[in-house]
């Protein structure tokens, strides 16, 4: 049964020349789990706001076409009716929570619907139980972790008993474990309560496999719509930016079947390398060309073990990086406690060398941001020292420090207060007593922001704003660049671009880069070394492939896919090289009669 029908719908934000949604046709059926993918500015969030009845009511603008919810015109339903049936969870938990106490926050929606107090009490208890926060009903919202706050937001929406649950990048600010918990809860609601779910998410590795259907948007238009496997095939043809890494790997290998989860990928890999009959799109075995490579009698161990040493050696040579020179920036025995007594860092030791990208991973509240602020000289350690090129950071004046160490925090908007982007960069130079001498043009060019030079920074898209904030510190050409959660809300293309920029900074300009992130895939693709923090302590610090290998959550999909086949592989390119080598070798060595 169709829950929502959208016919030829276009929408323009007030004053916009280009429509944010352009001739959209979409039918959402009861009980579906739909994943909406697309680049920044492709219209994903606008689509969710349309479904939540916010476009006309909250944003204004111009709308054409038709949208119905349960057969009634969605655009003419009054707000209470829409809110009763459609729930929307936003990206940033802090910006959607109203009350100070957990149970009251959950009760806020039902109160607005005018439900009787007894009914509200029952719904609040049930919603908190569903998201696993019953024991924190009387806790203060601001004292919860980001993941818990997002669960409170979800419970607040669930307590309104929606039929359609909309989620706008609900996990983009969460660590892998908290993100997994949220998605697991949503999946359970979909499976057990039959709730229809529309999820917008950039971290495809987290959610592609939980969806029934994928809708891809580009410039406000739907470019792919279908069951997950069908959509994956279409998306692979149009470039693989909207595929999770595991599907991207198989697409680049040119295999017919694209897995959407690690489990499926491992099954496929085992079947293919095991000499078994190849697996068809529906997961069942069938005959086909790949049978040649997997002739009877060849076992996976034989093939993989024969292929691995060679491929590993190639990889080792290709990926080995010299850890040259002394540390550019180092922390020695750094402790830090906040005024409320919470110890955020407990004796942290780390160092980053020239030409090196160091990524700091760890759950929310593990001390990543505090560590970065200390490394940037914005906070003084309670105990221990921070050394910049062997000299104590505390001895440097503000200007000197900022010239040498660039720091961009979690909120790029806090950096952007001038009228134009050019003025922003000039402001930094003026503060530091530096001449332009082409720095502004070079920085904007390097960050792909030349076209935005005269634009007001606050008018830029979120990805552009992130880069603009980086530009405001990069224009001083610091030796060390420190970034706190730079990939929040970034799509794959933007992340690839950021990754290239960081590599360029470190490799070509000899700088050091330190990044705190929840994005394990980004870390795997970009970092030379990874530091894993937990409860203010360093629990691992080593080459990326050593730290991100063999974990349940803190490993990229590729690593989990190849677990047991090729330990230590964390990058897509490594996996591609390895699998191509293995397949080539297997094909070369396969008995001719096997074809």
């Amino acid at each position: 049964m169709a829950l929502v029908t959208i016919e030829n719908l276009s929408y323009w934000y007030p004053g916009a020349a280009r429509p944010a949604l352009d001739g959209v046709n979409l039918v959402l059926r009861e009980g579906e789990f739909v994943l909406v993918v697309g680049g920044s500015g492709s219209g994903k969030s606008t689509l969710l706001r349309l479904l939540a009845g916010l476009l006309g009511d909250f944003y204004g603008g111009k709308l054409s076409g038709r949208a119905t919810f349960m057969g009634r015109n969605l655009l003419e339903l009054d707000r209470r009716q829409v809110a009763r049936h459609v729930g929307l969870v936003f990206q940033d938990p802090e910006r959607q929570l109203v009350m100070t106490r957990v149970d009251r926050e959950v009760a806020f929606g039902p109160e607005n619907l005018g439900l009787p107090p007894d009914e509200i009490r029952r719904r609040v208890a049930e919603a908190l139980e569903l998201v696993g926060l019953a024991s924190l009903a009387e806790a203060t919202v601001s004292e919860l972790s980001g993941g818990q706050q997002q669960k409170v937001a979800l419970a607040g929406v669930l307590a309104m008993h929606p039929r359609l649950l909309l989620l706008d990048e609900p996990t983009s600010q969460l660590d892998p474990v908290a993100a997994e918990e949220i998605l697991h809860t949503v999946r359970r609601l979909n499976e057990e309560a039959g709730l229809t779910v529309v999820l917008v998410e950039h971290r495809l590795e987290r959610c592609f496999h939980v969806a029934d259907r994928v809708v891809a948007l580009e410039a406000g238009q739907i470019v792919a719509d279908g069951a997950v496997r069908d959509a994956a095939r279409v998306l692979a043809r149009d470039g693989d930016a909207y595929l999770p890494p595991v599907a991207r790997l198989f697409a680049r290998l040119g295999w017919d079947v694209l897995p959407t989860s690690v489990r499926e990928g491992r099954r496929l890999l085992a079947a293919r390398l095991d000499g078994a009959i190849p697996v068809a799109a529906d997961g069942h075995v069938s005959s086909g060309e790949s049978g040649r490579a997997n002739a009877p009698g060849r076992k996976v161990g034989t093939t993989a073990q024969a292929g691995l040493p060679m491929a590993r050696e190639i990889m080792r040579r290709r990926l080995a990086r010299p850890t040259e020179g002394d540390a550019l920036l180092s922390a020695r025995g750094v402790w830090f406690a906040y005024e409320n007594g919470r110890e955020a860092l407990k004796g942290v030791d780390l160092a980053v060398r020239p030409r090196e990208i160091l990524m700091v991973l760890g759950p929310s509240g593990s001390g990543k941001s505090t560590l970065l602020k200390i490394l940037a000289g914005q906070l003084d350690p309670g105990r221990g020292r921070v050394l910049l090129a062997g000299l104590p950071m505390s001895g440097l004046e503000l200007r000197e420090r900022v010239r040498l160490v660039g720091y961009v925090g979690q909120h790029p908007d806090h950096y952007l207060l001038q009228e134009t982007l050019e003025e922003e960069l000039r402001f930094t130079l003026r503060n530091l007593g530096l001449e332009d001498g082409g720095r502004i043009a070079d920085t904007l060019e390097a960050l792909g922001l030349t076209a935005c030079r005269e634009a007001n920074p606050r008018d830029l898209s979120s990805g552009e704003r992130q880069r603009a904030a980086v530009a405001t510190v990069l224009v001083a050409e610091p030796r060390v660049l420190i970034l706190d959660e730079p990939t929040r809300g970034m799509d794959y293309a933007l992340k690839t671009r950021l990754s290239a920029l960081l590599l360029d900074l470190s490799r070509k300009k000899g700088g050091a880069v330190v990044v705190a992130t929840h994005d394990v895939e980004f870390a795997a693709a970009t970092a030379d070394r990874v530091v894993l923090l937990a409860d203010g302590r360093v629990v691992a610090q080593d080459a990326t492939r050593n730290v991100l290998d063999g974990n349940l959550f803190y490993s990229p999909q590729i690593n989990r896919l190849l677990h047991g086949y090729a330990p230590g592989v964390v990058k897509l390119e490594e996996a591609l090289a390895l699998l191509r080598a293995i397949v080539n070798e297997a094909e070369a060595g396969a008995p001719r009669g096997g074809a």
Binding site: L54, R80, R95, T100, P117, V402, Y415, L417
Partner: protein
Amino acid sequence: MRFHPAVALAYVGLLVLVALLFSHPLRLAALAVVVGAGLAATGALRSWWGSLKLLWPAALLIVVLNPLVVREGATVLWHGPRLPLLGHVGVSLEALVFGLVMVLRLLLLTGAFFIYQRLVEPDDLLALVGRTLPRAGVMLALATRLVPTTAATYREVGLAQAARGVDFRGGGRMARLKHHLLLIKGLLLSSLERALDLAEAMQARAFGSGPRTAFVTHIWRPRDTAALVALAVALMLLLADLRAWSFNFYPRLDPLLAPGWWLPTLVVAGALLTPPLLELGWRRWPWLRSKI
């Protein structure tokens, strides 16, 4: 402390009332014991003590300035020189005691404020006024959340600008002023954006779509009745003997120890101590917890 918010409000309200209306030094001192116990029982003693860092200059100013400018006291302790504008300065016992009582009152009021903060959550207040003034209640909750968020944003914008070489401490006055204006601009921009996001989230959750109801979680327990009875006793005693709780400082101090002063003081203090004692008993004595 888990009293019903109405009881908690009545308790804090009575503390404030006594501190504001009455001035008898010994009786206020007895109230100080009550407030101290309240602070200890609610776990607010430490943060109240921390706030004294900000308060002591004001307290010192009251103690020093009051005797110097007030000349109504008859018991002069020190005759000072003649100063321009002020004329003859001197310190009288009455003015000194008055200054000290004012400081005590200031400490009591701040103490009561900290107890209020611990006892009454903004959401509780919302629940109390929710049925009659729902919008005002939500505004109150939002405003309460706004204070720490705004402070955090102010800090973060400052750090972001410092990362670009803005020196908030160095430079001339004009430069510092300019930098702080920039900070305020950043704060305003971020607050506006946050307000829009929050408004959208509230609209998506049907806020303003029609009449609201209120979610009531509070349970009236025997300890609420006990505390309310104690507070009523204290109020009645105060009202019955209003004059005894007042005190004349000028031109001469009233006698501190009027006959029989201690009994009503002790009873009122005891009654006002009941809520903190109940809290203490509730926490320390499982048997009592099960009964109240």
